[in-house]
Symmetry: C2
Subunit: 171 residues, 2 copies
């Protein structure tokens, strides 16, 4: 079993663009709504689903039951072939994510790790591989926006010859 | 000008059902995901848009610029004819909302006011009339999930002979 260390880099729109959207106020297009009492930071993430084929988009909440700390070891990634999946933390501590490009044969060398600045969410585009969501404290909550409906919308892939060790940028 | 006092009642799924969804953990269907490290409170709100007609669903953030306190006076309501609109507070203080049933001729006597318990969001179904979003502190942030795309998706209605005074339940 070969251990591959993934060092998290800061999550930025440019670096994350091949995988999805960064949901953040910084750098967003924005305009006043409601007689300019509220500023809307608009269209930060594209919500995708197979609407023409019975899919629909839903809002859910995800609450951490088993906290995970760094270094975090894993060898399984997943993807959602029928829609996007967004996670927006309801807390302001950093969140780690690992992603890999779309495609049927994920390569260990293609995985990339990111860490939020505590004020960011992220949205995986349809089919993008990613590590299951994790956070470091029981009861931390994410808003999720993803696809519901009939049929399989979660493919898992286990790396048999590698395990990944996710570490923070500064370790 | 006739003032109509709207006294906010606690937001519950049952009371809000004619207008939309309450986004909350309490009472939700739920199940473990990610090897049972995370509990998913599933399908709390239906995201609607005119997908077949060029609409799409997007995630935005809304930040309060002008705080509003109770009693809050207003005479304008709005609706979104092409899709749902969800607001999920990123803070845990109560949020007030006023809603009215779908239809082209809103009646003053049909408006109802609700207040969250600080752990709830809400989702207006397509075409449901509502007061523009408000909160009591600059910089408070809501996650918004609604429809983007070409064409008008915001109708406003001004009550010429009434103004509304939104008050808390216990005043």
């Amino acid at each position: 079993m070969n251990t591959i260390v993934l060092m998290a880099q800061p999550l930025t729109k440019a670096a994350f663009a091949p995988y999805g959207d960064v949901i953040e106020i910084d750098g967003a297009q924005h305009f006043g709504i409601n007689l300019d009492t509220v500023e809307r930071y608009h269209d930060l993430a594209k919500v995708e689903a197979d609407y023409a084929d019975g899919g629909r988009s839903v809002i859910s909440l995800a609450s951490v039951k088993v906290p995970c700390n760094l270094p975090h070891h894993f060898h399984l990634i997943e993807r959602h072939p029928k829609g996007s999946q967004a996670f927006i933390p309801m807390f302001d501590s950093p969140v780690y994510t690992v992603v890999g490009p779309k495609g049927d044969n994920p390569k260990a060398s293609d995985l990339k790790a990111f860490v939020t600045n505590g004020q960011q969410g992220f949205n995986y585009h349809t089919g993008v591989w990613h590590m299951p969501i994790m956070a470091d404290e029981i009861g931390k909550i994410f808003v999720m926006i993803d696809r519901a409906g009939a049929g399989n919308n979660c493919d898992e892939f286990t790396f048999e010859e590698h395990r990944f060790e996710l570490v923070a940028e500064n370790t």
